[in-house]
Symmetry: C2
């Protein structure tokens, strides 16, 4: 079992804080956006005497309302095609457990959400990464790359759309390309759409909107980011494949039920005004612009403009992202402040990739982001492993 | 993946209810005891704006208080030896995932909690049941039975103490016997102590109280039954084995964090008055006595007196428990009422065992238990598959 690349630097951050240094956390996708008070209040005022198990698939009232939410975003499903899970994490685990036997392979464009590795290990599944590249903003790899990776053991492709860690938003054409691949090779498509509400450069195309692949597509979802309710641990496993639903229900029954409190929150959140996301989205957009502009102004730094989610991957003029991120916490401070970043190496399956890239989560307000960027800018000036930019780097940065 | 034997009769119960029949649910361990108001109020009044991820091991404040709770029940551990899990379910899954490789074997005295099977399948682990018998109240099988089942692939023994589904409370001698076996064969001992607070015939001996086996013992716990908080989904994975803790933390980090709301509940529950359990225990004891007395007065029925938890297994004079339990819901009613029981077959790993046994959960008040026993008594009189008692059966019933 691999350690979480996002959390492994935590002890260094704690040490920095005990030295009195303020640490800006751009390393983890914990938004500072307030959980909607209306949804929290539903939990606070819920009237019951016994905190009972819910249905293993989640409360029916919640699932019925959730089907309405999906209809409102253009996804036609009914409540019986939804299994409420303990976070999006469990939805992903159920997918791996139900659709793949130990030794089977799953293809994931890299860099990818590092915890997919953990669930793959738990299910005995082999992750086959295919590389997407910072130069074109981490667009979907070419069909030829998928074809080259597919073997008789390949059972599924996993995408995250919009993407964590790259922020890339897949286009309609790319989704159609994926559809052709899964039809041709009879594969499952697991679509992690945790960040659906946060798209800035175009419309979100759900995998559930692809036609003719009802038995292939599984939607993995969560309320964690949508309503800034990460601690609720409520997600969903959604498919129109009845046999797969039946199998997933056995796993759901073995763990009895998803958490009851946050199901109340999730159900209440569906009643939020339709413009609820506008404010949050505008805030993230402002942060993204601040972050990306600051990054691309630094010598030798290149950060493609993310189309969605609240992450960006930047290439830095450094020798080793793991060393650099640790150094930021251990050996650097600017005005008694520093910044915590996630080395991109942990998001790549191919060893050696991502060594000069970091992931930044723009989950802090623009004042904090600017302060964090001040730190990063100064750090790159004094870090012993900084590689001074060349004309070639600048050319790439202008792409 | 096997279907849950506890939940597979649910559609028949739902059909009975739509016909206007009242169903007494003795089939599932969902207590009707009220969740302590003080603990629920802690959730209702918790003052925060963002429902954040907690630490992957759970809130430190909760773990510190939990260490105090364990001290109060005679278990010496510190907060760093506790990982808060999503229900006891996840603690069991972590144990299987961390300690056993696919193909490894785990020994479990049968009948056992059916969902152990589900977690074993998820981890690719083989369950080797060894039989305990109703005639001696489901005491620990003989050492020779363990010795006969142990192979080079055996990595762990699982016990549930007091036991679900039998209600058996393991004695100090039996716990010492287990200790000798795990030392001799270098095995893990997974001890599921969900029902610790509900012991009626003697003191509870925790596996964590065994000396000299710190690296072998894992305690799997939950607040579900202790505080009637099943829907909270909060449990704990506890061991003094540092390497095992490190491994389990990787699984914990992959799924990010346990549910935040119910951690607040669990932490507040530790502040309940020390006599809190007295009332609940007295109530369960009254129910147990009502149930067991009624059962043993029915012709051909034998139910050993459980020492703990809130379950009993009874042997009925029937041909087939699965058929009988379905028939109770589908084809029987007494005064427009019937009873739902769990066929014991689902709790045995050995095919063919438990065919004339059922599990009863005494999670209803004594009035309801008496009404349910009226139904069962009448049902046995008219059920076509009833086997009329003989002198031999009566002799066994007198044990």
């Amino acid at each position: 079992m691999p350690a979480s690349p996002i959390r492994k630097l935590v002890p260094y951050a704690e040490a920095a804080k005990t030295k009195g240094i303020k640490v800006y956390h751009l390393n983890i996708g914990q938004p500072d956006i307030e959980t909607p008070a209306q949804a929290l209040d539903a939990v606070r005022t819920a009237d019951f005497k016994v905190l009972e198990y819910s249905h293993s698939a989640g409360n029916e009232s919640y699932r019925r309302k959730l089907a309405g939410y999906y209809k409102s975003v253009g996804v036609e499903i009914n409540h019986q095609q939804i299994i409420i899970t303990t976070g999006g994490s469990e939805a992903i685990l159920f997918g791996f457990m139900c659709c793949l036997d130990p030794g089977d392979e799953v293809i994931i464009p890299e860099p990818f959400y590092a915890n997919y590795n953990g669930f793959a290990v738990a299910a005995g599944v082999v992750v086959k990464p295919i590389t997407s590249y910072i130069e074109n903003g981490f667009a979907l790899p070419a069909i030829s790359a998928f074809e080259a990776a597919i073997t008789p053991k390949t059972k599924a492709i996993v995408i995250c759309n919009p993407n964590n860690p790259t922020g890339y938003l897949y286009s309609k054409e790319e989704m159609e390309t994926l559809k052709q691949i899964i039809i041709k090779h009879n594969l499952y498509l697991f679509s992690d759409e945790a960040y659906r509400e946060f798209c800035y450069t175009g419309a979100h195309i759900s995998a559930m909107q692809l036609t003719g692949v009802d038995n292939n597509v599984v939607l993995m979802d969560t309320i964690s980011k949508r309503y800034s309710a990460c601690g609720g641990r409520i997600g969903a496993f959604i498919t129109r494949n009845q046999q797969l639903l039946d199998t997933a229900m056995k796993f759901a029954q073995a763990r009895l039920s998803p958490p009851s409190f946050a199901q109340i929150l999730g159900e209440a959140a569906i009643d939020l005004p339709t413009d609820y996301f506008d404010g949050t989205k505008a805030e993230y957009l402002k942060r993204r612009d601040t972050l990306v502009n600051r990054l691309n102004k630094m010598p030798g730094v290149f950060c493609p403009n993310p189309g969605g989610a609240f992450y960006a991957i930047a290439r830095l003029p450094i020798d080793n992202a793991d060393v650099f991120c640790q150094w930021l916490l251990e050996s650097f401070a600017y005005n008694q402040q520093t910044v915590m970043l996630a080395p991109a190496t942990g998001f790549y399956g191919t060893p050696g990739l991502g060594k000069n890239e970091v992931r930044l989560a723009y989950v802090l307000n623009t004042t904090a982001i600017n302060a964090a960027m001040d730190c990063l800018e100064k750090a790159l000036e004094v870090y012993p492993g900084t590689v001074r930019p060349t004309a070639t780097d600048n050319a790439v940065a202008a792409v």
